[in-house]
Symmetry: C2
């Protein structure tokens, strides 16, 4: 698989433009004052199906041939990619087979079901996911849409940064969360093409720091733990996303679980915007871990799919 | 006091344009499907200080003379107007004296304090508020900025609908919550000027239905209970807002408390947007009480200032 280019992302943006939400960029003086920079939040939590993932899934399915579409699509995902594939499949009137880990948040499971997809649950390890998926693909003939080890997915995800940078080409730092690396890869390719002076930093949970370790060691490191509250970031980089990140990303900041919760609440309270824990990871990086001052920071808010019955800052009860 | 005109609202919009957020209009297919119309949410919960009230307060203080500004400004408010006046005063570097009912939400009290205003608490009756305020005005010489019985306030509030209608002039229904009536008045004046075919309906809690009763009887009726969860809608219409509403508003829909909570959760879950109970009132009207179908509905989402420690759909714990 080849790394996409800025031109690929621009072309894709034209192709999916009628299907996606062109999400707003929100600002808040309270947030600016606290971080000490002008901060621009690209709100992909207002994207269709509640996360940036719809951009990639929409593009990937768009690009399939008639014969690849015939038997539907399949994927494994803890949630947002699952929803995005399910919705895109529904729009194309083809079946979607989704393998979800048994610890996926209920709100995401319900949404996938709501889009009419067929769900199969499995253990939360990557091995279990892949085995179950392989069986399904063999049985149904569905086309596998990987969540990030897929050029068309990365190209789609990069369109969020494209929109952000079109309105704000002068950003000097762009932060995006990194799980499997599709969003960070697309963001970095778009940003380094449009705003070569902007620094691109990925943010990930300290307890799932495979991207950090991979970049440090120059060798792809699988994630060791999936215990982070940031349920969208429990996956490891792929060869493709690792390459993109090596080429275009300055470094990875890791943040602690408590910082993720505080950053999430901070955005909920100060901006009245519902962001999920994964989206709070780059916010936590900006709040607690920047090594120097930046004038204008762009943050990709990846999604907002979170259960409302129990919030992480509330005591058990 | 005279009723403002569409031209007043347009002129005001030019004057406050650099100070306010031009808030986004959000849409969701899930919401459209549920309501059976295309629905456009004008998100004033993303306005500065978290509510449309900043538009009016900013304009009212803008319009004061040097001598009226000298000793600062004063008001009584359960929250959002208080925050708006406090922030506008801070921006103008003048003192703000705010009388708040003792049952005002903590999150709103904290925010008012955060903008550097001096707070005096009182019983939650209108009489108590007015007496305490009168004492403060007498003692300090501050200029009283009424939350809605003020032409400049109504003019400012109308700028939200102005922005909504500029992007969506073809709306055939506009819903706004009604408490004191400033937002509904400004909305109705702007809408009837720009889109004369649009119907304008106010929405208020059944347990605080003074606007409904006033319009039914043709006589200003004070609110009898302040027990609604929609804490921004516990006030009565004034003579000025009653006149505006009589001239421009088709009718008032009243909604039940449980419907307010359901509508609030619906928007949180489906759109990832934090709205306060008062904003959920017109959403509940659209969900449960429309008498006929509309093609395109605009809803003014008034604010998003709500405490996050306990949400109304959560069991006590």
């Amino acid at each position: 698989m080849k790394e996409p280019t800025l031109e690929d992302i621009q072309q894709t943006h034209r192709e999916i433009s009628d299907h996606i939400h062109h999400t707003p960029v929100l600002t808040s003086r309270k947030v600016n004052n606290r971080i000490g920079s002008r901060v621009f939040l690209k709100c992909e939590n207002f994207q269709r199906a509640g996360a940036f993932k719809f951009r990639g899934a929409c593009n990937a399915i768009n690009k399939l041939s008639e014969s690849e579409l015939t038997n539907g699509v399949a994927t494994h995902s803890s949630g947002n990619h699952a929803q995005a594939v399910a919705l895109s499949a529904q729009m194309n009137d083809i079946p979607a087979y989704i393998v979800m880990p048994e610890n996926a948040p209920q709100v995401k499971v319900d949404a996938v079901r709501g889009y009419g997809a067929k769900i199969t649950f499995c253990k939360s390890s990557l091995q279990a996911r892949e085995e179950v998926l392989e069986n399904i693909v063999e049985r149904t003939g569905a086309t596998f849409i990987h969540a990030y080890n897929n050029t068309d997915i990365i190209t789609g995800q990069g369109t969020a940064a494209l929109e952000l940078l079109e309105g704000h080409p002068q950003l000097d730092l762009i932060l995006a969360p990194v799980g499997g690396g599709g969003l960070l890869s697309g963001t970095a390719i778009a940003a380094s093409g449009i705003s070569p002076n902007a620094k691109i930093i990925g943010a990930e949970p300290e307890v799932a720091n495979d991207a950090y370790l991979s970049l440090q060691t120059g060798k792809l490191q699988p994630v060791q733990s999936t215990n982070t509250i940031a349920d969208g970031l429990r996956t490891s980089l792929s060869k493709l996303t690792f390459n993109c990140i090596q080429h275009h990303v300055a470094n990875i900041i890791t943040v602690y679980e408590q910082e993720i919760i505080e950053a999430m609440r901070f955005i909920w309270e100060r901006m009245n915007v519902i962001i999920e824990p994964s989206s709070a990871v780059p916010v936590a990086a900006a709040l607690y871990h920047l090594q120097r001052n930046y004038d204008q920071i762009g943050i990709i808010i990846s999604g907002g799919n979170v259960g409302l019955d129990h919030l992480p800052w509330q005591k058990e009860g």
